[in-house]
């Protein structure tokens, strides 16, 4: 699935990934391939993206949208 991590200043990440781990407000969750469409709030924590490479970002708060194997994280 395609993952984008956006901030108002820049695009932090843009690429293919297999797993995205997010610090949701009601507890951490993972997004895998073919996840149902979802919009979720994030709390402070670490956002981890793993695929061919692994990336992690610490976030203060944020928003995740999942639609048709496209994950967009706004932090």
């Amino acid at each position: 699935m395609w993952v984008e991590v956006l901030t108002p200043d820049q695009t932090l990440f843009n690429g293919e990934a297999k797993v995205v781990s997010c610090p949701g407000v009601d507890g951490s969750f993972q997004i895998l391939e073919n996840h149902a469409p979802m919009i979720a709030n994030l709390r402070e924590g670490t956002l981890e993206i793993s695929g061919d490479d692994s990336h992690s970002f610490s976030v203060q708060s944020g928003l995740v949208e999942v639609l048709k194997n496209k994950v967009i994280v706004l932090v």
């Binding site: 956006l6 108002p8 820049q10 979802m38």
Partner: protein, 290 residues
């Protein structure tokens, strides 16, 4: 006619002025490019945010969100006035100040207005005109980042929610292109129902974690902060554009001045030569006649 020497020194000083304005123009052009890149960089973020917002419109009537939407009776108004920190940019700041004065004398007359200045120039001119400026954020444009803009916006939002203002308006120069700025007074808070009514569709398929309203509670302030950040970036880009144009004109004017000075100089020089020749010829004629 002025002497050759004076004209020469005027030419020299005009040349150095022209060099300065030319350099300032180039610097502004670079800064303008950077500023407009920042606008382009935030666009995907802003668009996505807008997209999610549009999909959640039907939940926006919830009481918990009313604080952002509800129009109160307007007694206390906050004007966010975005100008530049530096001058030499044509009518850029003067236009903003003029608009603020017009608003103060017109629609805001009799209301309690807090003039929150962002950018030194606006604060200075408004103070000179006797306005009571709130200068907490006057340096906000210096090293502007999303983070600092969001902090500023949070403060304004908190104050609005606490009832310190009933309405917040942003006065700034919107960036159209390098040569054009559009002076705008945008309603910032409360969020106007017109924005609310935009496209409503296709949100029912989503799962919401934890809930639609909770997401909107996060989303609305986020979108407002982005909007304010955008205004500040626009103002910055406009400033550099305005300065670039002003400096370009100054360079042209200096060129024109130089041309007429050089003409005057050559005339003076020629006149001196002619005078000398006629003196010599006169002298020779006098000798021959003797």
């Amino acid at each position: 006619m002025a002497g050759q020497k004076e004209i020469r020194s005027r030419i020299a000083s005009t040349i150095s002025t022209q060099q300065i304005t030319k350099a300032m123009k180039l610097v502004s052009a670079t800064k303008l490019r950077k500023a407009s890149e920042a606008i382009v960089r935030m666009r995907p973020y802003a668009e996505k945010l807008q997209g999610i917002m549009a999909g959640l419109q039907e939940s926006a009537d919830d009481d918990r969100l009313a604080v952002y939407f509800k129009a109160r009776e307007v007694q206390k108004v906050a004007l966010l006035i975005i100008t530049s920190d530096r001058g030499l940019c044509g009518a850029f700041n003067a236009n903003v100040v003029k608009r603020v004065r017009a608003m103060a004398a017109g629609e805001l007359a009799g209301k309690q207005v807090q003039y929150i200045c962002i950018g030194k120039k606006g604060a200075e001119s408004l103070k000179r005109l006797g306005f009571d400026c709130d200068t907490r954020f006057v340096n906000a444009l210096n090293g502007l980042s999303a983070e600092s803009a969001f902090d500023l916006a949070s403060t304004i939002l908190e104050e609005f929610k606490a009832g310190q203002y009933d309405q917040v308006t942003v006065v700034y120069n919107r960036f159209k292109n390098a040569a054009t700025q559009i002076l705008s007074a945008d309603a910032f808070l409360p969020v106007s129902p017109a924005d609310k009514a935009e496209a409503t569709q296709g949100s029912s398929d989503y799962l919401f974690e934890p809930s639609k309203v909770a997401i909107l509670e996060d989303l609305i302030p986020r979108s407002l902060k982005t909007q304010l950040y955008r205004s500040m970036l626009d103002s910055l880009a406009s400033e550099h554009g305005a300065r670039m144009i002003a400096m370009d004109k100054a360079t042209d004017n200096a060129g024109e001045l130089l041309r007429s000075l050089r003409l005057a100089y050559n005339q003076a020089r020629q006149a001196a030569i002619t005078r000398e020749i006629s003196e010599i010829v006169g002298g020779v004629a006098a000798l021959e006649g003797a």
